[in-house]
Structure formats: C-alpha cells, structure tokens
C-alpha cells in the first residue's frame, strides 16, 4: 500500500487512542491533576516514566549519534540510564514519603523558604522550556517530512492533541497516554531492529546479534567486520575510539547521570505511586522499559553503519538504491562524484570522501528502507517518533504548569485560593505553557540547539544537590541550600557562556569555543557535574556558618527516613 496513506492511517489511529484516553481519564481534583491521585501502579508508572523520559532525541537521534561515534557514544548510553540508580536510591523514595505535589514544593518545605522555592521554579522552568522546544521541533519535522503537510500545520495538530489530553486530564491523562505511547514507541523501535539483526546475523535478538558472527557464512564477527571496514576506509575504529579525553568522558557521563536524576519532570512521576516501596520498585520498572530501547540502540547503530558503508561505498551512482535519492531530496544526505568515476567513494578523508553529508537522524529513519522492510514498518516508525515527542512534551508541560499554578500562585502569590480555583488555574497554566511551547515551536530561538545540554547542566548543578542534601543532611539549612544552588548554576552558566557565548550568541563568547581553553579538557556540555561539586561545597561552608535548622525541619527529615 502507498506509504503516505499507511502513515496517515497509523498516525491517525494512535492519535485517536490518545484522545479517547483523555476523555476517559479526566482529572476532577488537584490531586488527580498533579499526581494522578497518587494511585498509579508501579509497573504502569515505570512505563509512563520511560515514555516521559525517552524523547524524540532518544528515539531518532541517539542511535545515529552512536553509529558515527562508536565507543565514544557510550557516554549517552551510560549517562542516560545510570541516573535511575541515583534516583531510586537517593531521591525518589524519600520524596514520595514526604508527599509533595511538585519538586519546588519539597524545596520550600525542607528549606522553609519561599525564596528557595522561587529559585527552584526558575531552574525548573528554564530546564523544561529548553527541553520542550526540541520536542515541538521534532513534531513539526515528522509531520512535514512524512505526511507532506507543512511544518506549521503539523505543529498545530501536535499541539492540539497535547492540549486536549493534558488540559483535561493533567497528570492522570498524561500518565495513561504515556503508557499507550510507550507501547507504540517500543514496537516501532524494536521491529526494524529485529529484522535487521536477522538479516545480518541470523539472530533475532539485536542485543545478541551485535555480538554474533555475520550470516554470510564468513564466520567473521559483525563488530570485527565493521572495525575492518571503517578503518580500511580511513575512519576511526568503531569499538575503541573515545570521544575527546578520558577525563571528559568520565565527567560527561557523571553530568548526564546526575542531570537525569535531577530533572523535575522525571522526579515528579514518582509522586504518582502509592507509597515508598512502590517508588523504589517503579524506578526499576522505568529503567527496564528504558533499557529495552537503550540496549537495542547500539545494535541499531552498528548495523545501520555497516549497512550504509556496504551499500554505498564503491557503488555506481546509477545503481544506488532508491532510499539514497529519497533522502537526498530532503537535504539530509548529499553526495558528489568528485573524481568523476561514476561511483561513490565513502571514506574518512575529507578531500576524497564523496558522501558529503549524512545526517545522523537518517540512521533510524531510513533504517527500514535500507533493510528493504515493507512500508508499514516505516509508517510505524513515524508513529513511534511522534509518540516519543508527544509523551516527553506532555510531561515537561505538566512540570511547567504545576510549578506555576501550585508553586507560584498557590504557594507564593495567592495562598488562599481553594481547591476548585487551583484546579482551574492549573488548567489555565497548562494552556499557557502549551502556548509558550507552541510559540517557540513556530519561532525556534537561535540558541535552541545548545539548550538541551543546558537543561542537564542546570538540573545537575542546582536541583539534584539541593534535593539530596535535603534528605541526607539534617544540618543543611536555607542559607546553605540557596547559596549552593546559586553557586552551582552560576559557575555552570558562566562556563557554558564563556565558551559558547552569552545565551549561545557566538560573538559574545569571551574565551572562544576552543578546547585548549577548557578547564581540565572538559567540554561545556559536560560541566554540570563540576557545578554540582561546587554546589555541595558552597552549601556546606555556608550552612556550617549560619543558624541551625529548627526542630520542625529536623522532624521532617526524620519522617522521610522512616519506611
């Protein structure tokens, strides 16, 4: 059947499912709107967390990134999964025990300070808004590329869907749509991977296929073959080449792990389960559902790279498969017959290489075509990519909306509004957050590309340390926490801006984006962990020189530490 009709059918069916869920899971109280009533099953929450966490970037870009970085891409695999260990042991159970609706509310209670709450809200909004812009762009691009509608119309349809289920259902509606989105996303990701693993190695499990011999009867291991080919053509060896220095790899991985554990839209998912035991269990389920995709991604990466090299290199231009031309028209892939021999030479030498552009996003999107899979698989991948973008966008929007209605409005400006008024305000905040995200979707700011790294940097250097000290240190006080957060964010922003430019405007970078100027060779995106260390140190120094916490706060910490 025609690809476009199939794609419309798949996307249409999945959207109908999301809307049906929205009407079924309407929120009738603030507790339902903020934390889905606190009755979500640990497995269901795990699945929703996985969908919440895995964005368009995880779904579309990560495997492509690994395909071109090889071992160097491991930073993202370890960094974006290891954070769940920290979350499960250092944050989630205790925050659930305390029982607040939002992350800034916990900061407010623990540090008995509205100022601390406002600082937390600002960090949360910066981190979440920068993150949501990427999702909006992903939605628009997916529509424009596969459904042949314009970017703007695609964006409006996407925003409309989120608007319906997020405004009606709040966390409750979002949770149940995220479960549906996870199922769609994981099927869409694994089916092409299984087919390709079968084709290349005869093993249907991609995780095992990656370590197997090739099915061509040569007895050569897939990874050895890949290493041979890439090295032979002048590229860096796939399985051993690190990205930048070992110190940088170490610090970057740590920053991503701490950042993951500190992202508010992930943390607040653990407020929706019944109790402490469920929160711990649920973190395990979340990582299980994430790991299904994250352990498949390296297989997709290596196999797609191998397929790409073997299909393209030394092939006559007239004989190139159809997908090469299809992707060439999108501008994501370009070639140029520099030596005029009518064949493509794909090499690591910039001068002679004739594949002049291969966008990394192609690796997942074109994978089904490269492996000559049927059209319905491609349609499924599009629906999966949209599910990934929508589920993450919804989670982020809820984090923003609840921090406005619950933290700023109810918590600081107008504490006397009643439950019904707050519910109305939470819905209005959601509409506002969606409008803001939509605005940035239509007018993507110039600094958008660099900002997701900033979201991790902020979460790592401000939110994670403040939460952790609030649980593990009885002595940490208001002064220490605020000074720590400001110092952590301050040094991280300063480092990023001095290399990348103020608000990412390159002309304003006073040190230039040059690796010799990096502190210990650490790239700006990896600086969150250093910011976190500064946060801890400053907080301890300030706290030990200022007034001790009251007995009420001490009792609160004691309560969190009980089962």
């Amino acid at each position: 059947m025609d690809l476009q009709i199939l794609t419309f059918a798949f996307v249409g069916i999945t959207f109908a499912v999301y809307i049906s869920i929205a009407f079924w899971a309407k929120a009738s109280s603030t507790k339902e709107f903020y934390v889905a009533g606190g009755v979500v099953h640990p497995v269901a929450n795990g699945m929703a967390t996985a969908a919440d966490w895995m964005s368009a970037a995880s779904f579309i870009s990560m495997a492509g990134l690994i395909a071109f970085l090889g071992y160097g891409g491991s930073v993202f695999l370890m960094g974006w999964t290891g954070g769940y260990v920290l979350l499960a042991m250092l944050l989630a159970p205790y925050l659930r025990k305390h029982g607040s609706y939002t992350v800034p509310e916990f900061i407010n209670d623990r540090y008995y300070s509205k100022a601390a709450r406002v600082v937390a809200v600002i960090c949360l909004i910066i981190a979440s808004v920068t993150y949501v812009i990427g999702q909006m762009k992903g939605i628009g691009v997916a529509f424009s590329r596969f459904l042949e509608v314009s970017y703007e119309i695609g964006l409006i349809v996407g925003i409309g869907i989120v608007l319906i289920y997020a405004v009606l259902g709040g966390m409750k509606g979002i949770t149940y749509t995220q479960i549906a989105q996870y199922v769609i996303m994981i099927i869409a990701y694994t089916i092409p991977a299984i087919f390709i693993s079968l084709q290349l190695t005869g093993n249907p499990i991609p995780q095992l296929g990656l370590g197997s011999t090739l099915a061509d009867g040569s007895g050569t291991y897939l990874l050895d073959k890949l290493d041979q080919i890439v090295v032979g053509l002048g590229f860096a060896e796939y399985t051993t080449t690190p990205r930048l220095s070992m110190t940088n790899t170490f610090v970057y991985t740590l920053s991503l792990m701490i950042g993951t554990a500190g992202l508010p839209h992930v943390i607040m998912r653990f407020f929706t389960v019944k109790n402490v035991q469920s929160a711990r269990q649920s973190a395990g389920w979340a990582l299980l559902f994430i790991a299904i995709l994250y352990t498949t991604a390296p297989a997709v990466a290596a196999m797609a790279r191998l397929n790409l090299m073997q299909t393209v290199h030394n092939t006559e231009i007239k004989q190139l498969p159809e997908w090469v031309e299809n992707w060439k028209t999108t501008g994501l892939l370009e070639y140029e017959d520099k030596n005029g021999d009518g064949r493509i030479q794909y090499t690591g030498n910039k001068k002679t290489n004739e594949m002049t552009k291969v966008d990394r996003d192609i690796m997942v999107l074109a994978n089904p075509e490269i492996a000559q899979l049927p059209n319905w698989v491609i349609a499924l991948v599009v629906a999966g990519g949209l599910a990934a973008a929508l589920s993450t966008a919804a989670g982020l929007l809820l984090a923003i909306a609840s921090s406005i209605s619950h933290d700023l409005l109810k918590g600081v400006w107008r504490p006397h509004i009643n439950e019904k008024e707050e519910l109305m305000w939470s819905r209005l905040s959601m509409v506002g957050a969606i409008a803001l995200a939509g605005y940035f979707g239509f007018n993507p700011p110039g600094f958008a590309a660099g900002t997701v790294a900033l979201a991790f940097g902020l979460a790592a250097s401000s939110i994670f340390p403040a939460l952790m000290m609030g649980i593990f240190s009885r002595k940490m006080n208001k002064e220490g926490a605020i000074a720590g957060m400001i110092a952590g964010i301050g040094i991280t922003l300063l480092y990023v801006f001095q290399h990348k430019g103020i608000m990412f405007i390159p002309e304003t970078s006073f040190l230039g984006d040059m690796s010799p100027n990096w502190f210990l060779g650490i790239e700006p995106n990896a600086f969150g962990a250093i910011g976190a260390v500064v946060n801890f140190v400053v907080a301890y120094i300030v706290a030990s020189n200022t007034a001790a916490v009251s007995t009420d706060v001490d009792a609160m910490v004691t309560n969190m530490r009980k089962p």
Binding site: S74, L77, V85, A88, M89, Y221, L222, A283, L287
Partner: protein
C-alpha cells in the same frame, strides 16, 4: 534508636550498590576500557560491552535488588 538503625542499614545498602554502579560504568566502561578490550566475549570486546550493554543490565539488577532488600529491611524495622 530504632529509626537510626533503619537509616544506617539503608545507607550501608546504598553504599554497596553505588560502589558496584561505579565499578561497572566508570571503571569497566571508561577508566579500564582499554585493558578489558583485550578480552572478548563472543564478538564483543569486554570493555565495549560494559560501556554499551553490560553497565545498563547491572544498573537494572541493582535497582531491583535494592528495592527488594529494602522491603526486607522495612519489614524488620516495622514497629
């Protein structure tokens, strides 16, 4: 005090789990990757396997182990 013992048991468990967390990712996947790559399991170099597969499996096992071990500790210190 009762709750102090409970908290102490929790901290001990966290320390053990995070030590393993550190070893499989930072040590095996990053710092010792070259040495481990001289060993192969199937078609995988061992260091590469830890960095792209093994560490994630261990993270998963750690969280489920922590959750079940804490359930037992919860039971033991229940008043």
């Amino acid at each position: 005090m009762f709750s102090d013992d409970y908290w102490g048991a929790n901290l001990k468990l966290i320390t053990i789990c995070l030590a393993i967390w550190f070893v499989v990712s930072y040590l095996f996947g990053i710092l010792l990757v070259e040495q481990l790559n001289t060993i192969s399991i199937g078609g995988y170099k061992l260091g590469f396997w830890f960095a792209q597969q093994g560490s994630i499996y261990v993270f998963l096992a750690l969280i489920f182990y922590y959750a079940s071990a804490m359930n037992k500790i919860d039971e033991k210190y229940k008043d």
